[in-house]
């Protein structure tokens, strides 16, 4: 799994590649924490390259969401694979997080 980020017009895109599981989850929390420290508090997590996610990965996303909200911003997810969608439904996390089809759409309403 690897993380990278890129500054866009009104938000920062965080790309998550590979497997987001119990091993990589704590690292995602750290990574997003660093992005927040650099001053971006509007984050879109691009999951297009995420091949697998487990409950720990989702837990990390909640942790990141909490951190961005506390920094006065927001975190959104985009380009979700069917497997990830299934995990979202299984835990009813789809009631908390909206999955946007593309990264651009995530903050498209603002």
């Amino acid at each position: 799994m690897d993380f990278s980020y890129e500054l866009r017009d009104s938000y920062t895109e965080v790309k998550v590649g590979g497997r987001l599981n119990m091993v990589s989850a704590p690292r995602l929390r750290e990574f997003v924490g660093d992005v927040l420290l650099k001053g971006s508090n509007r984050i879109v997590v691009n999951l297009a390259e995420t091949s697998f996610m487990d409950s720990s990965g989702l837990g990390a996303l909640i942790g990141c969401l909490k951190a961005t909200r506390q920094a006065g911003g927001d975190l959104r997810i985009a380009a979700v694979h069917p497997q990830v969608k299934m995990v979202l439904q299984l835990t009813s996390m789809d009631r908390v997080l909206t999955s946007y089809a593309t990264v651009e759409e995530a903050f498209g309403d603002e």
Binding site: M22, P26, D54, S56, D74, T91, V96, T98
Partner: protein, 650 residues
Amino acid sequence: MHQFLLRLLVLLTVIFGVNYVAWRWLESLNWSAWWIAVPLVLAETYSLVDVCLFGLTVWRTRERTPPPAAPGLGVDVFITTYNEPIEMVLETALAAQRIRYPHRTWILDDGSRTELREAAEQHGIGYLTRSADWADRPRHAKAGNLNNALMATDGEFMMILDADQIPKPEILDRTLGYFNNRKVALVQTPQWFVNVPEDDPLGSQAPLFYGPLQQGKDGWNAAFFCGSNALLRREALMQLGLVGYVDEVEKNIRTALKGSRSAIRRARRSEQARDPMVAQLLDEVERATAGAAAGLKEGRSYSEITYTLRRTVDAAVQKLVAADVHALQADLAEIEAMGLGPGSGSLSPEEVEIAVAGLSSRQWSPLGALESVQAVLEAISIERGEEAQPVMPLATISVTEDMATSMRLHAMGWKSVYHHEILAIGLAPEDLKTMLTQRLRWAQGTIQVLLRENPLAKRGMKWTQRLMYFATMWSYLSGFAAVVYIAAPIIYLILGILPVTSLSTDFFIRFIPFMVVNQILFAVAGRGAKTWRGQQYSLALFPTWIKACTTAARNVWFGRPLGFAVTPKVKEGNSRDWHLIRPQLVAMALLAVAAVVGLARLAVGLNEPLGTLVNVAWVVYDLVVLSVLFKAVRYDGYVPEEEGSQAVNR
């Protein structure tokens, strides 16, 4: 063969039992003495239900052979501690380090003791304490300790050990294999105590529970998590945490929205609302919460709803504050133009912006003073700011986190396993006081779960699973029945009042077969385990059981504290703590007096011979059961049999 015999006995017990209790309700109630007749028949019905649940439990007893453990799995071994002696924790941790299957050992020190940290580091054992997030937030005792550790580690499986539970090196090899089945979330092994003499005066060993009962529950896929000596799958726990998180967020938002209208109304009547800006803001807040309620109805996600709400309110605050500052600035400029001011010059546009941002921040916002509104706005969030972690994998609804956790796992479709082999050796309380604290805590926890998440109403579980949880909870209500069983013979012997219309053949031909088959069932199901101590204590500790029910009910319904204490792992009370069993001593005295009075009344012809005989026999039985407490009070702690004289307190 054994199973067949067991089922036959279960059927006979249920048939004889229903036959007897139905007759008691329908034909033998002495209504003229209803105040004792009705409680007694209720107590008997309670016992019949208890026996039926026991029968269902042992109906499908399951014995397992463990599949071999797959190599290369990630395992964390957690040793939870709060205030146990450092040597004890370290001994357990070192034994955990020697577990053969590759793993990492962690001490989860809720006492944050420097000495323990140093000792752990010295031996290369992981050491964890609560993260900063827990400061000033509910700590949730052991469940909180474990939840904190889950966020700091990454093993796929975790073994949980209490500080006194010394594991054997093969513990993981014997239990990990069950997880080859991907639906298995939990493997529980027995708790067995080394510092307990042969006659077990405090009833510490639980051979019936860690044996036929757990094996029986396992047969229905309902083996319980018991808090220690268990192996858990992280994915299952995390899933539980996520589902719980979503529920909690939903509940918070709905409650807050429901209360928002009255909160705003209250705010409008407050002193601050006379300020036109605040009044205008309240209008904005009302509009925003109405929008959130509409969003909820439309099925929009909670993150959208909460984000929109916050943005709307923040924007309104910003706009109104800015208007206020600009007006003020205009006034200042005017004053200056008129040459009346101190001449310090008006604010630059940047300064205005900074002032607006500052005054709009949550701390200085005009809404900040309106606590009720502020509370509503804070609750409509997805951060769960009142808790240290948004996701709490182990249930925190009870002081016994274990039962609630496994119930939720079962409700989500996970499987559990009971592996009947002693793989860790622990220490039991060595004095009555500590033992009573421990039993009280277990009972309180169980009743809390019953009242907060009644298994009978829990969606996602099969009926048999629900009944397995309910059976254990039901057994903790025995204190009320015990009082009746003690009172009934006293009332007859002293007052001559019989709760039954007659003690005729009708009574005996129904009662005796039930009683006899019931006892045989216990003996056969127990397979030679010493279950008598357990039976004695389920009656003898009636004040503890009743106290547990009342305190747990007050806690759940009225939010009163439980007065909960961690069970000390070292000896605490003094021997001869007679005051701890005062209610039982009073009961015993009354029983003895009643027997004497009853015999005297028989001698002068006031009581019948048969009634006296039955009730004296009953008194003798009660006294024999209660007599275990004399042993318990006089117990001085464990003395190893070979070594002799000195009590061992590790």
